[in-house]
Symmetry: C2
């Protein structure tokens, strides 16, 4: 079996760690939200980013960027959340091409409830495993990767 030129051991651990830690964390958080609130993590993210917009509303394209999904993907996620009663769509008056997603009051309630599960999950599956310093080092490294 031929040997493949590779990364050094620490680089390898960092890179493999990105894949595994992300997959494991994402999987658990998704599972818990579905079990306790009937929404996926992807849907929860849409609610979160909508809530962070002005008056709990945000343009579709901005929401797609924030939620790390394609525009077509977002259109359908929002459709689904509208069908569930958590979002409304509102045409944009200044730019008639545009559409806002707007949290309904039912959406606010759902978000607040689901966020308890979510935050508990992040603490349990991520923060509880790390010291404050490690958390800071992790945040630092991840942000440098994004530049």
């Amino acid at each position: 079996m031929e040997e493949i030129a590779w990364l050094n051991e620490v680089e390898m651990r960092a890179w493999r760690g990105m894949l595994s830690a992300h997959a494991q964390l994402y999987g658990k958080l998704d599972e818990e939200l579905v079990a306790e609130h009937g929404i996926t993590f992807a849907e929860y993210e849409v609610l979160v980013h909508t809530s962070e917009g002005e008056d709990g509303s945000i343009r579709m394209s901005a929401l797609a960027d924030a939620a790390l999904v394609s525009r077509s993907g977002l259109t359908r996620r929002v459709q689904h959340l509208v069908a569930q009663g958590y979002l409304e769509r509102r045409r944009c008056k200044e730019d008639k091409r545009g559409t806002f997603a707007v949290l309904t009051s039912s959406g606010w309630t759902k978000l607040i409830e689901a966020s308890k599960t979510h935050i508990r999950g992040v603490r349990e599956h991520m923060m509880s495993k790390l010291t404050a310093q490690e958390t800071e080092e992790l945040a630092n490294a991840l942000e440098k990767m994004l530049k």
Copy 2:
């Protein structure tokens, strides 16, 4: 707009960083492999983990675990790689329920070529942004998350 109870600032940066850094890195590595070698990152991972098995072969279930995919998902990825000529399937003699995925010589060649692109990508999009110490801190934090 109501305020949602949340994580502290550092925790938030670490958690958001996991999502964004993973998405950005995965996206770039996938794009480069597709452009230069016509295989997805997911397929590349299957080739890598197969190559690491004995004689470039590995049981389907072990491969599914290593490649972070469901067994049904793996069955189809392997089907696709077999169709492309990079893998063969071999029945397991000791356990007739089992199947091995085995790298073909064309698969070895593909893997070796693709790994150059992959490693270059990991260096360029990840390691080049980090000092050796930051890489180590990152690896450390990610591994602790997995425990």
